[in-house]
């Protein structure tokens, strides 16, 4: 990959997956600035979750799952920090100190037998059935990304027709919250 005029970078660096959390003013264009920065500078977005979290202060929380070399991840954080509506940027380590969750809605349309089979499969996950007919059900699962990936794969032969996923959200364990250093 040629990144600038002269850099045939010969070094192969390890790609890491990180969760970047960004607190931004909830104003029009703020999300576009964040994701525009990713596409404009060639960074990856594996998943994205965003919603207002503080009505009074008008703050939205954006959770981005991204991958890159440590060098790129550092750049992502610094570039995000420069955006005017951004209040703080956190890099949540993917270890025991961080809680990660993704929510999925899955619609299965199938025969009675297969529906039963599908339900059994789900037992292992934290799920609830939101809608049910003779031929179908819609279930809600909240789990780690890899577990949902697995479940989706297993449900496919059993009549999974529609999948909707939120992308990962994250929070640190314990009483501490993230403060900008």
């Amino acid at each position: 990959m040629i990144k600038s005029a002269y850099s045939f970078s010969t070094k192969k660096e390890k790609i890491e997956n990180h969760i970047i959390v960004v607190w931004v003013d909830n104003e029009s264009g703020a999300l576009a600035r964040v994701i525009g920065l990713f596409s404009g500078r060639g960074y990856n977005i594996d998943s994205l979750a965003v919603a207002e979290v503080d009505k009074k202060k008008n703050i939205s929380r954006i959770t981005i799952s991204t991958s890159g070399t440590l060098h790129v991840l550092q750049q992502i954080k610094l570039q995000l920090g420069k955006l005017v509506p951004v209040h703080k940027v956190a890099d949540f380590p993917k270890n025991k100190k961080t809680l990660l969750r993704e929510l999925a809605l899955l619609k299965v349309v199938s025969s009675k037998v297969k529906l039963e089979k599908a339900k059994k499969l789900c037992k292992k996950y934290n799920y609830s059935i939101l809608d049910k007919t003779e031929k179908s059900f819609v279930l809600e699962v909240s789990a780690l990304k890899k577990d949902i990936d697995e479940l989706v794969k297993k449900l496919q032969p059993l009549g999974l027709v529609s999948t909707s996923r939120t992308g990962v959200v994250a929070m640190t364990k314990g009483p501490e919250i993230y403060k900008q250093s």
Binding site: S4, A5, Y6, S7, G29, H71, Q75, Q79, L83
Partner: protein, 590 residues
């Protein structure tokens, strides 16, 4: 009920509060209420350009030569899209620019109305920040905030998109609690943590026996105090100093400690010193690819200190050993006082420490890498710049340039001894920058000599602005090094594409002397070396805009040059230099 005034009035009130004296602009449907209000604000002069890109570059020239933000005012749609090149240029070169655009009325936004475009969408990646104003009561705060964003931290362009109905609508003028002063472009304070970094920097400086100061545009953006301190630092340490394209003028170009510009067309001594040094102190520069050459082989043996106001510049292209985030002048002040405090005899001890390093540098200097074979028959472009320098150096001269060979020759052969005298498009490399920039500079400094060192191809991109220069009686001098080629393209085609001069020759050029006359200014042509001095003298004696058509050698190349894919110590010194041929893989790079 508080006094309600129109959005257009609010805009001018903010401009007055911010001390704006000049705006560069072009009217159109969506900014007519603002243009209508102009007559009531005599302290602000509007400069009517001929194309919105010209307004942007003029505002850039104004900003770079004064340290104050430049202001431009354009209409919606094409007015805004024409401004995009100038905004991007300002973003790349950290120039504070306030761009006010008109927008179609709020209720028409999103309907593909006449002259509507998604201005904030288009300009999001080329501004520090932009705003679409939907509430007239927020206009004053947004505008003040815009000035703050443009001028603080690493400066840059901002854009405020104001729909036409907001310009008409009456609203409250709200003064922000604290007005940031324009003349203080950088307000990031050094925190305690950086103080330990200052100590570390001083220790590295103390230990070094082969140091180099690598300075950039950040020194100039930090203001005149930073320039003064840089000179103090060099006087104190005796360290050799080199500069990027944008940093020229921060240190006197004819001082013996100055090794000349570095990078792709930098001097042999500067690039070799960068390669062989044991301590590199980057002050307000950003390890741009034109500077580093092959990144894997960039200055392999050195410790690197990077002083920058923008944290995202640290470790972006080159990993450094010590980063100091802060305004150059604050950091230099601390470093200097810390050296004096800890090592009162530093000057003396340093002299001995770096004595043999200077010997090495003097040997590199002997190569005279900026040398060229002069001619009696044809004007060599380097010679033209040298003569221009010799004949103008007694005056306080402001130089702008276009982009290409002439720009590099100007950077190599014109010596600057003051900051803010050199306006050139570095990061974006915008052909057509120099002429409108010269207009902006001349507006800011009406009594000074302002010269655009141009190429004939570049200058045609914004030539229409001569009409602006004539209208405002701006005696700018357009000094065209005319070789009928896009010279830098031609040079690369010669070196990298087997002399296939594909589309780089302009088979039909205007007669620049007649063109000057058509615009109502003066045209002068020089064909022979022996008439050059006389003709330049004539140009300087005319107190009107002049287009100077300097007919130069068509096939002269710009050397020295670090060829693509090579490191600092593998420079091409001239056409005869076979030692450092460009490799196949080097050819794919830009």
């Amino acid at each position: 009920m508080a006094n309600l005034i129109s959005g257009a009035e609010i805009l001018f009130k903010v401009l007055e509060e911010q001390g704006v004296k000049h705006i560069f602009g072009y009217p159109g449907g969506a900014v007519l209420p603002i243009y209508d209000e102009l007559k009531n604000h005599k302290s602000i002069k509007h400069i009517l350009v001929r194309h919105e890109q010209g307004a942007g570059h003029a505002a850039e020239g104004y900003a770079r030569s004064t340290g104050k933000p430049g202001v431009m005012l354009v209409t919606s749609g094409p007015g805004a899209t024409n401004a995009v090149t100038a905004l991007t240029d300002a973003y790349m070169d950290s120039v504070p620019l306030i761009c006010i655009t008109g927008q179609v009325p709020t209720h028409l936004i999103g309907t593909d109305a006449f002259q509507e475009c998604d201005t904030t969408g288009i300009t999001r990646p080329c501004t520090k920040h932009n705003w679409l104003v939907k509430d007239v009561n927020k206009l004053s705060l947004i505008l003040h905030k815009a000035f703050e964003v443009a001028t603080t931290g690493r400066p840059g362009p901002v854009l405020i998109d104001i729909p036409k109905d907001i310009q008409f609508k009456k609203g409250k003028y709200i003064k922000p609690k604290e007005l940031k002063k324009n003349n203080k472009p950088n307000n990031i304070k050094l925190n305690g943590q950086d103080n330990t970094n200052i100590e570390k920097a001083v220790e590295l400086i103390k230990k070094s026996s082969k140091p180099i100061l690598y300075t950039g545009g950040g020194v100039i953006n930090s203001g005149p105090k930073a320039t003064e301190l840089l000179r103090q630092l060099v006087a104190l340490t005796g360290f050799p100093i080199t500069s990027t394209l944008q940093g020229l003028g921060a240190f006197p170009g004819n001082d013996n400690k100055f090794l000349g510009m570095l990078g792709m067309h930098g001097t042999y001594e500067a690039n070799n010193a960068m390669h062989d040094c044991d301590l590199m102190i980057n002050i307000g520069a950003r390890f741009d690819d034109r500077i580093t050459g092959k990144i894997d082989e960039f200055s392999p043996k050195s410790k690197k200190i990077h002083i920058d106001i923008d944290p995202s510049s640290i470790n972006k292209n080159v990993n450094v050993d010590l980063a100091i985030i802060g305004d150059v002048k604050l950091v230099l002040e601390k470093i200097i006082s810390s050296i004096i405090e800890k090592y009162p005899n530093f000057s003396e001890s340093s002299k001995q420490e770096i004595y043999s390093w200077w010997k090495t540098i003097e040997n590199w200097r002997k190569k005279k890498s900026l040398g060229f074979l002069n001619s009696n028959d044809v004007i060599k472009p380097q010679y033209a710049i040298q003569r221009l320098y010799e004949l103008t150096k007694a005056q306080d001269t402001y130089i702008t340039t276009e982009v290409g060979q002439h720009q590099m020759w100007a950077a190599q052969h014109y010596k600057f001894d003051k900051p803010n005298r050199w306006m050139t498009s570095g990061g974006l490399g915008t052909m057509g920058y120099g002429l409108p920039a010269a207009i902006g500079v001349q507006i800011a400094h009406p009594d000074k000599l302002v010269i655009d060192i141009a190429g004939e191809a570049s200058v045609l991109m914004t030539m229409q602005e001569m009409s602006t220069a004539v209208q405002y009686k701006l005696p700018i001098k357009i000094f065209i090094l005319n070789n009928q080629y896009m010279g830098m393209v031609r040079q690369w085609q010669e070196l990298l594409h087997e002399k296939n001069y594909s589309e780089s020759y302009t088979a039909a050029l205007p007669d620049f002397v007649k063109l000057a006359e058509a615009y109502g200014c003066v045209g002068i042509r020089a064909n022979k070396p022996e008439e050059l001095d006389k003709k330049i003298g004539e140009m300087l004696s005319i107190n009107r805009p002049v287009i100077f058509d300097c007919v130069v050698d068509k096939i002269e190349n710009c050397y020295p040059m670090i060829p693509s894919g090579k490191a600092h110590n593998q420079m091409l010194l001239g056409d005869q230099d076979e030692e450092n041929k460009i490799s196949e893989e080097g050819k794919v790079l830009v």
